[in-house]
């Protein structure tokens, strides 16, 4: 393999993907701040009318080709269109478009390796699995890269892929798998809020060392197009140098800027329908584009009280067919600001039912659109823990296009301050200097530089604690399942590269059968130690994919025999979790694989 010439950061966004890169300077030991300039790949994409155009952003849409002729220089017999044209055609033929593939990847309710996308598509359409969809995006980026750098294949570069911090071990595995399917055999993963933090560290206008001090806990709030992600990073000190520790991550929340646009589009549509006009699906899509523009105008220009939203006629009578209404400042303030960032108490929990908010079926979209309530729950969870101080962050770092609007930043700061003052803490400090869009892919590249020793590195480790469900032996009682105990197999924060063995505990597994463990995660049980058995499982545990291992017969043991095994846990360098059953004689190992097929 040729030596890597570039560090490449791939931001696999829910709605948009970006690839950034910087040259690796060999031999120099510069401080990270002097690192190479970060560039964005111009990604070649199909356009209508047999044209090809490039853009820094690859919209995360896949469209099953109808009669459109493939025009990209690579895979000319491809059945799918990826990118800008796919989004455009998807608005017109919604049954054939795949969107939010990334969110499907962490949906434990579906088989993520089964061809189920597009989810609502007709059965005649060629379907693909969320895993395949992800692989297709990465493959597209790989080919686009090759167009730009024919001599330096992407598989030979140092590639870092960003994932939501809330991705569990199974979803992380799937991202690595997708990269492998696309031909990238070794990629590193980095959590998006961490990447955003790296991006902030790398900026020079407001040096980060002047903005935070030892002991500070930084809350990273990342509201993207489709997902909301929270992380806490603690600033510590060792040998007189500031260190960064990622101490907590939130759960996966499918909520973002797109929801805001959709909310306004529904308001506008309702307004139009009230005047007796019928709004088609195509018009709703157009409305949503218009509403985003209107939202941006109203949020940035405090002079304006309303912005007209217009959808031109679809037929050749463009003027006669125009429908028109407006979005007012009130709409934005009442539905967007109050809907997504309502004032709330730290004890408020997001609603679990479908009473409010805009939802689409099948993907587990957040039931409650209130980002502030999700945040309250996240911080509250930290307070229930041994490290109560994590519930009271000292500083906040915003990321995601949504926070370009000052009103959202100010509102969220006001809400957090109200919680802090209530507990007698100092007000939160807003960290300055981050570039809100593309920060993630920039940060990924900075992380790549940090890994090669050119900059400060966030110590992260395992993002949450993981548990295997162990059944308690008890006399059979009809109708009652034996109570489940949780065996901690990964403690939150365990560093990458650790190999741990569960001591003094062995399990009898039956040869010839599939060993099966229920698998749980928790992001608020920091005090549980590795190997500890927790007898009472409360709501702080969240069940995720099953872990299974095939146990084929081997020398001397036949089907039905019982073999005693011990558990070994490996936290890989790229941040994935691997659990092995090891026979007592140490001669046989079975890997417990995530069973992403069946619903948990």
């Amino acid at each position: 393999m040729a030596a890597a010439k570039y560090i490449v950061g791939i931001d696999l966004g829910t709605t948009n993907m970006v690839l950034s890169y910087s040259r690796i300077i060999s031999g120099s030991d510069n401080e990270a701040d002097d690192g190479e300039a970060i560039n964005y790949l111009l990604i070649a994409q199909e356009q209508p009318k047999n044209a090809v155009d490039t853009s820094e952003v690859l919209p995360a849409f896949i469209f099953e080709r109808l009669k459109e002729k493939p025009v990209l220089p690579w895979n000319s017999d491809n059945d799918f269109i990826i990118g800008e044209f796919a989004r455009e055609r998807g608005a017109e033929v919604p049954d054939r478009v795949i969107s939010s593939a990334k969110s499907w990847l962490c949906n434990t309710r579906v088989d993520r390796t089964k061809a189920i996308l597009p989810f609502n598509g007709e059965d005649s359409a060629k379907k693909i699995s969320p895993l395949q969809a992800m692989a297709m995006f990465i493959s597209h980026l790989k080919n686009a890269w090759l167009q730009e750098f024919p001599k330096d294949k992407l598989e030979n570069q140092k590639v870092i892929v960003t994932i939501p911090a809330s991705f569990d071990a199974a979803a992380r595995d799937l991202v690595v798998e997708a990269a492998k399917m696309a031909g990238l055999s070794s990629v590193s993963l980095i959590e998006e809020p961490q990447a955003a933090f790296y991006s902030w560290i790398s900026q020079k206008e407001n040096p980060w060392r002047r903005q935070v001090k030892k002991g500070d806990v930084v809350l990273v709030v990342d509201v993207g197009g489709g997902t909301t992600d929270f992380s806490l990073i603690e600033i510590t000190e060792s040998d007189g140098e500031l260190n960064l520790d990622r101490v907590a991550v939130g759960s996966h929340i499918l909520l973002g800027g797109d929801n805001m646009d959709l909310t306004l589009a529904y308001i506008a549509a309702k307004r139009l329908e009230d005047t007796g006009k019928k709004i088609s699906r195509w018009q709703t899509v157009q409305l949503s584009h218009q509403c985003r523009k209107a939202k941006e105008i109203l949020l940035s220009d405090s002079e304006k009280d309303s912005v007209p939203v217009t959808v031109s006629g679809r037929g050749s009578s463009v003027i006669g067919g125009t429908i028109k209404t407006q979005i007012t400042r009130e709409d934005v303030e009442n539905n967007i600001v109050e809907g997504f960032f309502p004032h709330c108490s730290i004890n408020d929990e997001p609603a679990e039912d479908t009473a409010s908010g805009v939802r689409e079926l099948n993907l587990m979209y957040a039931a409650d659109a209130a980002v502030s309530k999700h945040l309250a729950k996240f911080l509250k969870n930290q307070m229930n823990d041994a490290h109560k101080e994590y519930g009271y962050p000292n500083a906040i770092l915003f990321n995601g296009g949504v926070f370009k609007a000052k009103i959202f930043r100010d509102r969220l700061v006001a809400i957090i301050d109200s919680w802090l003052t209530e507990s007698g803490k100092d007000q939160i400090k807003v960290l300055e200097g981050i570039e809100l869009s593309k920060a993630v892919s920039r940060g990924a590249v900075y992380f790549g530089q940090a890994v090669s020793g050119k900059g400060i590195r966030i110590r992260g480790g395992v993002s949450q604690s993981y548990y295997l469900g162990i059944e308690t032996p008890m006399p059979a009682v009809p109708g009652f399942k034996p109570p489940l105990k949780a065996l901690c197999v990964a403690k939150q924060g365990t560093e990458e590269g650790s190999v741990l063995k569960v001591e003094n505990r062995s399990f009898g597994l039956v040869i010839g059968k599939t060993a099966e463990f229920r698998f749980f995660k928790s992001n608020c049980r920091r005090e549980d130690e590795f190997g500890q058995l927790i007898p009472d499982m409360d709501e702080s545990f969240e069940e995720t994919s099953l872990m299974t291992a095939e146990m084929p017969a081997y020398d001397g043991l036949k089907a039905g025999d019982l073999v005693d095994v011990e558990l070994e846990v490996v936290i890989t360098e790229i941040g994935t979790l691997e659990v092995y059953c090891i026979s007592k004689d140490n001669e046989h190992r079975w890997r417990l694989e995530f069973n992403v097929r069946e619903a948990a």
Partner: protein
């Protein structure tokens, strides 16, 4: 060895049997003899049979001491001793015979063994001999064959020479022919490739011709705004203006029936969309970056970029009011067309199913 022992044991047993048989015989003979003697003695003494009774009397007189009975007994014992001796002698002779037989057998075995050894040795000798003979036979065979083939070879050579002569003649002829054929096929090939080249060239040329015709046409069209050909970029630009800003629809629509408010609302949207398109795809800048309405002075005028009107002097400097600052198209960022523009459609008909 064991056999010998058994044999010996057997012979010994036989001896014992002989001995017991003899004992019985001796006892019987003994008994008969005793009876005979006593009967004989009695008969002799009673009947005074001569010479025996005289012998006995003589014996009696000779010894003086013995009675007649004692004398008989003595004769009896003497004759018994003689008998016993003879029995022993015969037994010994029997024994001697057995052991002599054994020794003779052993000697025979030894001799046989020696014979067998000799035989083995001889066998080995014979085998080596046979081998040698075989080799020899082979040699002989080979030499025989050689001899035979040598004989035949001579004959064959002679034949072959004849044939070769004939063949040479034929070969020379065929060589000539193949040469001719080769030359001919070479020529054909040359001609074919030439033809292929020519057709390729022709194709290239015709394509080039087409291209240049198209280019010429488009250049002509660009130059003159020609009426017969449309440059591909024109299709593309019209396509984009219609797709993004609905320009064709807008210009084609009869707007006389709409009130100004409807018009304004609709136009605002279209204006916005078109503006976005222009910003994204066409980089424009003013020819003269001055505010319109200002008075400006130019030393010279390039008629392609500045148009003057009013009272125009023959020579510069030209001073006047800037009416329009003009536009330059600095860059045209059109998507790259893979196979050029196909057909003449700039806005597809749309059907929703």
């Amino acid at each position: 060895m064991i056999n010998i022992v058994i044999y010996r044991l057997k012979s010994f047993k036989k001896c014992l049997e002989v001995i017991t048989d003899m004992k019985k015989l001796v006892a019987r003979i003994n008994l008969v003899l005793i009876l005979v003697f006593f009967a004989g003695g009695y008969y002799v003494s009673v009947n005074q049979i001569e010479p025996l009774s005289g012998l006995i009397k003589q014996l009696q007189e000779f010894v003086h001491l013995v009675t007649a009975v004692e004398a008989y007994a003595c004769v009896y014992y003497v004759s018994l001793l003689v008998l016993l001796f003879s029995v022993f002698v015969s037994l010994y002779a029997a024994f001697e015979g057995v052991s002599k037989k054994e020794v003779a057998l052993q000697k025979e075995i030894k001799l046989l063994k020696e014979d067998a050894e000799d035989f083995e040795n001889k066998k080995v000798e014979y085998f080596t001999e046979i081998k040698k003979l075989n080799l020899r036979i082979q040699e002989l065979q080979i030499s025989l064959e050689q001899k035979v083939s040598a004989d035949k070879y001579e004959k064959l050579q002679a034949e072959a020479e004849e044939n070769a002569n004939a063949l040479e003649g034929a070969k020379a002829k065929s060589d000539e022919l193949t040469d001719k054929i080769k030359k001919l096929s070479q020529k054909i090939e040359d001609l074919n490739s030439e033809k292929a080249k020519l057709t390729e060239q022709e194709r290239d040329l015709s394509e080039k011709l087409k291209d240049s015709q198209a280019k010429l046409a488009s250049a002509n069209a660009n130059l003159k705004g020609g009426k017969d050909t449309v440059p591909p970029a024109a299709y593309q630009i019209f396509y984009l203006l219609q797709k993004e800003g609905r320009l064709i629809d807008m210009l084609h629509e009869n707007i006389g029936d709409y009130d100004d408010e409807t018009l304004g609302g609709a136009f605002r949207k279209l204006h916005e969309d078109l503006q976005e398109l222009i910003k994204e795809r066409f980089i424009l800048e003013p020819v003269l970056n001055e505010e319109e309405g200002n008075t400006i002075t130019l030393d010279s005028i390039d008629p392609d970029s500045v148009k003057v009107s009013g009272k125009v002097p023959a020579e510069g400097p030209f001073t006047g009011e800037l009416i329009h600052k003009g536009w330059r198209l600095k860059e045209c960022k059109l998507p790259e067309m893979v196979d050029g523009w196909k057909g003449d459609v700039i806005a597809q008909a749309e059907i929703e199913i």
